[in-house]
């Protein structure tokens, strides 16, 4: 999976999110992503991450070996 697809999947699942993706090892399998979204408001960090995993349905832990995820409520502007 490439960075653009990863970003697109997260945006599709969380339309109001601002997303920054980095391929930390340049191998297309180890990514760091920061996702900031108003819809995270009032959600635990676990649930925020679960929302991102849902947007990446089935990829995480499979085609995507490792995703270093940072999430924050609010808008990313």
């Amino acid at each position: 999976m490439d960075a653009a697809m990863l970003e697109a999947l997260i945006r599709a699942g969380i339309p109001d999110a601002s997303v920054a993706v980095e391929d930390i090892r340049g191998d297309g399998a180890h990514y760091a992503a920061t996702v900031i979204s108003p819809s995270f408001e009032g959600k635990s960090r676990l649930d925020q991450h679960r929302m991102v995993f849902k947007a990446l349905e089935g990829h995480v832990g499979e085609t995507l070996h490792a995703l270093q995820l940072t999430t924050r409520a609010g808008n990313g502007t």
Partner: protein
């Protein structure tokens, strides 16, 4: 994974996380972690000087999938404290650096001030 197996695995998980204050489902063992992310959580727990139960999911494919279903969380490692799912490597490291993990452990009587 049929439903019946799932229940058997879930029962085992419930037992492990209630019989042990701190449980880390990981790849490999605390002494020989087989994955960097698992090793990172072991490091955090060692830094805090905490005894914990390490459970190697690599040796049990049913558990490896079952724990992901149980926690509704797609990756390993998974840390449980007093029966509660805390998170994977990212969240545990964030909580450790922010002091949140130390506070949680102190509140639960697992860490002296």
């Amino acid at each position: 994974m049929s439903l019946i197996d799932n229940n058997e695995v879930f029962d085992r998980i419930r037992q492990d996380i209630s019989n042990n204050d701190i449980v880390l489902y990981m790849k490999g063992s605390a002494v020989f972690p087989q994955c960097g992310y698992s090793a990172a959580v072991v490091q955090v727990l060692n830094n805090l000087g905490l005894p914990f139960r390490d459970i190697d999911v690599l040796s049990d494919p049913g558990l490896r999938q079952g724990i992901k279903d149980f926690a509704n969380w797609p990756t390993i490692p998974q840390l449980y404290i007093k029966g509660e799912f805390i998170g994977g490597c990212d969240i545990v490291r964030d909580m450790y650096s922010s002091g949140e993990l130390r506070k949680l452990l102190t509140d639960k009587g697992l860490l002296q001030e």
